[in-house]
């Protein structure tokens, strides 16, 4: 039996999402952009889904742009918002290109998008984090000024689960860079936080369906009215000219069902999962006294358990956990499937060697008490094996 503790990577479909998608795929079809009856039914399904997702996110339905996932939503937010900021025809490096402030611990979708912006001549200012993983508010004050067009700070870190002080970030952005668009990647916040509280303090918010029990390949960018975005995918002008292409109706129907279910179940689920996460952490720390919690004493979302095992290589640890039926992650996978040193941990000031000893276990709705006990035992076993084995020579 597999113990699945990688919900932050992808979480299984919620039964209601599966039922909604199955119903749509069996009985519905059609291109929502058409003008006939079949198209109208598809359009209706799409817009009902938009209402539900908007409600879950806490934005107006008109502000929801469906995308192919969190990554596309992040690209559209950063590059789309900059597209309008720099609409004036000007060469790279010219002063009227807005600057970007971005935290050093963002997901690659945001990080790489800001690299594209930098290559196009935008100044990119990196906002560091402290050893606790929280963005440096003092530095933020120094980075913000009237030249800043876009600020992107995540709601929750993808590796550590640390919750960023977004309300405080927002207050500073409004005061020092009142013209700037504030974006947050809330992909990892989606499963665990009431998103309307997040949306209330930002202009753009990215979410993903498969982290909350919806299907893969669907996400959304929520925007406040009046925030203009330049499309990054061009064509028929769907999604209010913000994202062309025939919408993935079955996908958004599943996403909407998952969002409704999550909103309803959130309070109970968060409490249960947090208790299991704390139990898992306690069991591991008891069994492996050298292990440390990566960001102790900082507010984290309930599903994330992120630990360091000094002296242990996480690639080897993951191998042994896999062999024992435990699916876990090291946080940051490279394209070929190996483990890269985590840029998040390096930004927190963890040294390279220690960074390569990290393990991310993320719990979800389907995680049981038995999973917690088996995972804790497997981790303890694996660390013990790696701690004693040596090449006989």
């Amino acid at each position: 039996m597999t113990v699945y503790l990688d919900h932050a990577a992808s979480s299984p479909l919620h039964p209601e999402a599966l039922a909604a998608m199955e119903d749509w795929l069996r009985h519905g079809f059609g291109n929502p952009s058409g003008s006939h009856a079949v198209a109208r039914r598809a359009k209706e399904a799409l817009e009902e889904a938009r209402d539900a997702v908007a409600g879950w996110m806490g934005v107006e339905p008109a502000g929801v742009t469906f995308t192919s996932g969190g990554t596309e939503a992040d690209n559209l937010a950063v590059l789309g918002a900059l597209g309008f900021a720099s609409a004036a025809p000007s060469g790279p490096g010219s002063a009227d290109r807005g600057a970007v402030v971005v935290s050093a611990v963002e997901h690659a979708a945001v990080r790489r998008s800001t690299e594209v912006a930098a290559a196009a001549g935008h100044e990119v200012r990196s906002l560091g984090v402290g050893p606790d993983g929280l963005v440096d508010m003092g530095q933020l004050d120094l980075l913000l000024d009237a030249d800043v067009a876009v600020v992107s700070v995540q709601t929750v870190n993808q590796e550590t689960g640390v919750i960023q002080p977004l309300a405080a970030v927002s207050r500073r952005v409004r005061r020092r860079s009142p013209g700037a668009v504030l974006h947050t990647d809330a992909v990892q916040a989606g499963p665990w936080m009431a998103l309307p509280e997040v949306s209330a303090v930002v202009d753009l918010i990215s979410v993903s369906s498969h982290k909350i029990g919806g299907p893969q390949g669907v996400g959304a960018l929520g925007g406040r009215a009046g925030v203009e975005l330049r499309a990054q995918i061009h064509g028929g002008g769907q999604e209010r000219e913000r994202r062309s292409g025939t919408p993935n109706v079955a996908g958004v129907v599943g996403f909407a069902a998952a969002a409704r279910a999550r909103a309803r179940e959130l309070a109970t689920l968060a409490e249960q999962v947090e208790a299991r996460r704390d139990r898992l952490e306690k069991l591991i720390l008891e069994a492996v006294p050298t292990a440390v919690v990566t960001a102790p004493g900082v507010r984290r979302v309930p599903g994330h358990c992120h630990l360091l095992f000094p002296g242990v290589e996480n690639e080897a640890l993951l191998f042994l956990l896999d062999a024992r039926g435990v699916c876990a992650s090291a946080g940051s996978a490279c394209a070929s499937g190996g483990v890269e040193p985590s840029p998040v941990l390096l930004a927190m000031g963890v040294d390279r060697q220690e960074a390569s000893s990290c393990l991310r276990l993320t719990l979800g709705p389907s995680t049981t008490d038995d999973d917690v006990h088996r995972a804790a035992r497997a981790v303890a076993d694996a660390v013990a094996v790696l701690g004693v084995a040596r090449v006989a020579s």
Partner: protein, 342 residues
């Protein structure tokens, strides 16, 4: 046994994995991610990892990726650049075998509870009395025992080289027979981390300063110029401008920016000094008649180990570039070897 197969995504290691299974062992495949930079030549590209993964799926075994790129940088690429900068001629494949494949990888395999590792090298590990012997591969043209000469008894006890008893065409036939997707994949060539476009010169120029220099003959007269002393190899004849004629490079002096050339007769050597030799099963006896090989596919010549790092050759040979490996054989078994000294 539990065997961890180093699968590069090439045909040899694909068949090695199949043969490990055939022999009744439990096998897991692992691909080392060694190089993160842009290269279109050898191993480690995402598509090679994908090939290895798919072959593992075809064989029904698990597959993992080990990211050793930082070790590769510090143990292989960095020293490769430093050696060139010092005017020597390194062989990075040997350093990769020494530090990555048969140290880092082997060590991890043992930690993970494997009894042995297997690779797709063309050489043979055979039992000899109490110990192990490293023999040339069955395919003379593909023999890779030279680049494995640093393996000692502790390593050989844990290394399987399943394709060493086959010729390359037998390996391809076997792969085709099993329907492996790598059956017709071309052999890897050259140094895996050097892009074909731009080559060695561009790679080195990006990482170290290359210096122009003068080519001087045996009497010290300047007979030519060149724009990167660091790219010249002792024993080289082609690719140098100027009135080189029939002469060979006899010395490279980076500090002085000098490349000395001389006629072959004067350049030939009959004695070599080997640095930090490693032995498969102990140092050979003094004066023992052995065979000496000075490049990966070079013709072995008769010689004797004199002790103290010295090798006497039975015939004069072209000078061996400092940094190249000198490998001693007893019959077709590797005795050991080390780096040619300056």
């Amino acid at each position: 046994m539990r065997v961890l197969v180093a699968m590069s995504g090439g045909v040899d290691s694909s068949v090695a994995a199949a043969l490990v299974l055939d022999a009744g062992h439990e096998a897991v495949g692992a691909t080392m991610k060694l190089w993160g930079g842009p290269s279109d030549t050898g191993c480690c590209s995402v598509s090679d990892v994908e090939d290895a993964r798919r072959v593992a799926q075809q064989l029904g075994i698990n597959h993992q990726v080990f990211n050793f790129s930082e070790d590769f940088e510090s143990r292989v690429v960095g020293p490769y650049v430093a050696e060139h900068a010092a005017g020597r001629t390194p062989n990075p494949c040997i350093e990769c075998n020494r530090h990555l494949k048969f140290d880092r990888f082997l060590e991890r395999a043992v930690r993970l509870g494997f009894d042995a590792v297997a690779t797709g090298h063309h050489a043979r590990v055979e039992r000899r009395g109490e110990g192990w012997c490293l023999r040339r591969g069955a395919d003379e043209a593909k023999d890779q025992s030279y680049v494995l000469h640093m393996l000692g008894q502790p390593q050989l006890a844990r290394v399987l080289l399943p394709v060493g008893g086959l010729t390359k065409s037998e390996v391809r036939l076997q792969a085709a027979h099993l329907g492996l997707r790598t059956a017709a994949k071309p052999d890897s060539q050259d140094v895996c981390f050097i892009p074909r476009r731009g080559g060695r010169k561009e790679f080195l120029a990006a990482r170290t300063e290359l210096h122009p220099g003068r080519i001087v003959d045996e009497e010290g007269r300047q007979i030519g110029e060149l724009d990167a002393v660091e790219l010249v190899t002792v024993g080289q004849r082609r690719g140098l401008s100027g009135a080189i004629g029939d002469r060979y490079v006899t010395a490279v002096d980076v500090e002085q920016g000098l490349v000395r050339v001389g006629p072959l007769a004067a350049a030939r050597v009959e004695r070599l000094v080997v640095q930090a030799p490693a032995w498969v099963d102990g140092e050979p006896g003094r004066e023992e008649p052995l065979e000496v090989q000075m490049s990966a596919h070079g013709r072995p010549v008769a010689g004797r180990w004199l002790g103290g790092g010295e090798v006497a050759l039975g015939e004069p040979v072209r000078p061996v570039a400092p940094g190249q490996s000198v490998v001693l054989y007893r019959g077709d078994c590797v005795v050991g070897g080390g780096l040619a000294a300056s």
